[in-house]
Amino acid sequence: MKILIIDDEPDIRTYLMAALEDSGYETFAVKENEPATEAIKAYQPDLIILDIMMPKQSGISIYKELRSKPQFSNIPVAIISGMLPGKGFKTEFKKLINDNTISFPEGFIEKPFQLSTLIELVGNLLK
């Protein structure tokens, strides 16, 4: 099972990759300044873990793009963010998306997270 991590923080990328690999997943991270869609096409992930607040391109616009293109829209997405609250996530996310036709992401993890919660969520999403 392949997981693509999109996050601008190198430390968080390293952490997520190490932790997920330790749980038996194959991971690939998109570095800064790399277009995410190119990576998805090349890597064909089973799950995408996506950060929201990034300097080059916000996670929101990446998410909109993924959901608007048929070749990506079937890939489950887990949002990982310190900006959005765990409670009321849907409302806040809806405000940011500002588009009723776009469906909600399959998972959400609030930073900081319990590693076990992350692993469990990823496990569920990849069943």
Binding site: D8, E9, P10, D11, I12, T14, Y15, L16, A18, A19, D22, E32, M53, M54, P55, K56, S58, I60, S61, G82, M83, L96, E110, K111, P112, F113, L115
Partner: protein
């Protein structure tokens, strides 16, 4: 008395020719046989002419000839005649016809004595015309208050009223008015005036109209001095009264508006006497309600320059933010508008409105405080976000360290240590920046050159820009005079904005983002700084976040406090900051500092 013979002789001989009355002698054939000097002056040549030819330019005897009657009956007559004078003009004259009786009792001659009354007649006619046509009502009353004579205006309004009682005609009353102006004149023979309400169209419903009349009664004296008649002249003042009433209403309305106004209103007349000093003005200047304000006191209250500009008549004089002194010499922040009122270049006085800014100032301070608190709130929220990332980083480091040790993987241990180090440094940077922000810095105002601050910031970044291949340009336009501002604070703002602009250029795709322009301009007393870059720009979400959140796009490099700090400093200068940005095209940040709102010297 004995008449001396020489006088009798003179009168017989000369009187005829020197008497200032035209005298002629006519025989029964109507020939003018003799006439005096005055006759010749009035009627011209007479010798060998018939009287009707001379008097009336006729060729035969006049009908109703009075002379022929006197020849027959020997009775003297007086007649009013109209004939022609020597210049051929129609002339009115009074003619006395007297028979000359001879010793036999016959009448061989008549003497005719004519007085020219043309002028008198003319005056009479003019008088009648005046009486009739003058655009006011005139009538004459007798002692029983019966109307004897009316002019046209009275006839047009009330119809034929001769012989009727004035009170019946004018007011529809059955007896004399209680306050009768004519009565007063009948009583004392003096002129009197009064105000009467007349009712035209009395008796016919729907035609009634009230006429407010200002009447004057004058006595018409008989020869014995008694007043038998009174002339009453009336002017219709209905319109005047209506206008007066309207004016009174308008004035009362305006007066209550001024009195109720929340702004102070002061008005002075052309002699600088204080006419209006309304309730709000009294409140602002702490003047008790019944005190009269003098020009001198006004001078001590308002700024000299303001009054000078009004007197110079430079249209509206507007002082958006200034100070006045109350009567107790307390300084009060106000907005002043003054105007010299003139009508066709003639000064009518001065009007001044005063807006009390104390409450607004208070609200402004409260708003600034609220904004500061909101900023602190945002900072705390943003800080939480930052800390969440830091904790995640720290946890990541711990995870790498732990799993590295368990699995005896040195690379993981190494990586974990580095992650811990990095994130601990970040925590320290964060906390420092946060403390500096929340503590704030004391604002230090001094007279500073706005252009120089921009120049210094550009110098500061010039090397870094050069290294990154970015052109950093300082642009000034026109001269900008020094302003009271916290130069260090503004320096910090521009440092933040220029730093951001350079970062934005650095983050943009290759070949793009090569220019940063710092522009200092002044327009309408507003000092404007613009920091323009053609770097990566911002999309909609980012633009919404830049000021409102503790926000950074720079990962480890930023604290997310720069723009918040900038906004705070600009607010402390009473200024505004806004931005225009388009993703991929660049960003312009604009700081607007209105001179009138800059802080006062500390």
């Amino acid at each position: 008395m004995n008449i001396p013979p020489y006088l009798e002789k003179w009168m017989g001989k000369n009187l005829f020719s020197v008497v200032p009355m035209a005298i002629a002698v006519i025989n029964p054939e109507y020939d003018l046989v003799y006439a005096n000097k005055a006759f010749e002056l009035l009627f011209g040549e007479w010798e060998n002419r018939k009287c009707y030819k001379v008097y009336k330019h006729r060729d035969s005897v006049c009908r109703n000839c009075k002379g022929s009657e006197t020849f027959k009956d020997g009775i003297s007559r007086v007649n009013k005649e109209v004939g022609y004078n020597k210049n051929g003009r129609l002339t009115s004259y009074t003619n006395h016809t007297i028979p000359v009786v001879d010793d036999n009792g016959d009448i061989p001659f008549l003497i005719e004595m004519a007085t020219d009354v043309t002028e008198t007649e003319q005056i009479k006619k003019e008088h009648q015309l005046l009486f009739d046509q003058v655009p006011c009502s005139i009538f004459i009353l007798d002692r029983n208050f019966r109307i004897v004579k009316t002019n046209k205006k009275i006839r047009n309004t009330f119809g034929d009223t001769i012989g009727m009682h004035c009170y019946k005609v004018l007011k529809g009353l059955e007896e004399k008015c209680v306050e009768c102006t004519a009565m007063q004149t009948f009583t004392d023979g003096q002129m009197h005036t009064g105000h009467h309400l007349w009712q035209s169209g009395t008796g016919q419903p729907g035609t009634e109209e009230q006429i407010n009349s200002h009447v004057t009664t004058v006595p018409i004296r008989m020869e014995d001095g008694d007043v038998d008649l009174v002339m009453e002249m009336a002017v219709d003042i209905t319109q005047t009264i209506k206008l007066e009433d309207e004016l009174k209403v308008a004035y009362t309305f305006m007066e209550s508006m001024i009195e109720a106004s929340l702004d102070g209103v002061i008005a002075m007349d052309a002699n600088d006497s204080v006419m209006i000093f309304n309730h709000a003005a009294k409140k602002i200047f702490q003047v008790s309600d019944n005190k009269k304000i003098t020009r001198k006191e006004i001078k001590s209250m308002l700024p000299e320059e303001f009054l000078a500009q009004i007197s110079a008549g430079q249209g509206h004089v507007y002082f958006p933010e200034t100070e006045v002194y109350s009567i107790n010499s307390e300084k009060i922040p106000v907005r002043l508008i003054g105007l010299r009122i003139s009508v066709e270049d003639k000064s009518m006085g001065t009007a001044i409105t005063i807006q009390d800014l104390r409450e607004i100032k208070q609200l402004e301070n409260e708003k600034l405080e609220a904004e500061r608190l909101a900023a602190v709130g945002q900072t705390v929220a943003g800080l939480a976000h930052g800390i969440k990332n830091l904790i995640t980083g720290l946890e990541g480091g711990m995870y790498m360290l732990n799993t590295g040790m368990k699995k005896s993987r040195l690379d993981r241990i190494q990586e974990g240590m580095e992650m811990l180090d990095r994130n601990i440094v970040r925590v320290a940077t964060f906390v420092k920046a946060f403390l500096s922000f929340s503590k704030g810095r004391e604002i230090k105002v001094n007279l500073s050159d706005p252009v120089r601050i921009a120049k210094e910031v550009v110098m500061l970044y010039s090397q870094r820009a050069r290294e990154l291949g970015i052109k950093l340009i300082n642009e000034e336009s026109g001269s900008i005079s020094p302003a009271l501002m916290d130069s260090e604070g503004i320096h910090e703002c521009l440092t933040n904005l220029v730093g951001n602009a350079i970062d934005a250029c650095n983050m943009s795709e290759a070949g793009k983002g090569q220019h940063v322009v710092v522009r200092t301009i002044e327009k309408d007393n507003v000092i404007i700084y613009e920091v323009v870059d053609d770097g990566c720009g911002m999309d909609y979400e980012l633009k919404q976040k830049v000021f409102t959140n503790f926000f950074t796009t720079k990962g480890l490099g930023g604290t997310g406090l720069g723009l918040l700090m900038t906004k705070k400093i600009i607010h402390e200068h009473g200024g505004k900051i806004d931005l225009e940005s388009e993703s991929g095209k660049g960003t312009t940040f604009r700081i607007l500092l209105s001179r009138s709102r800059l802080p006062k010297k500390s």
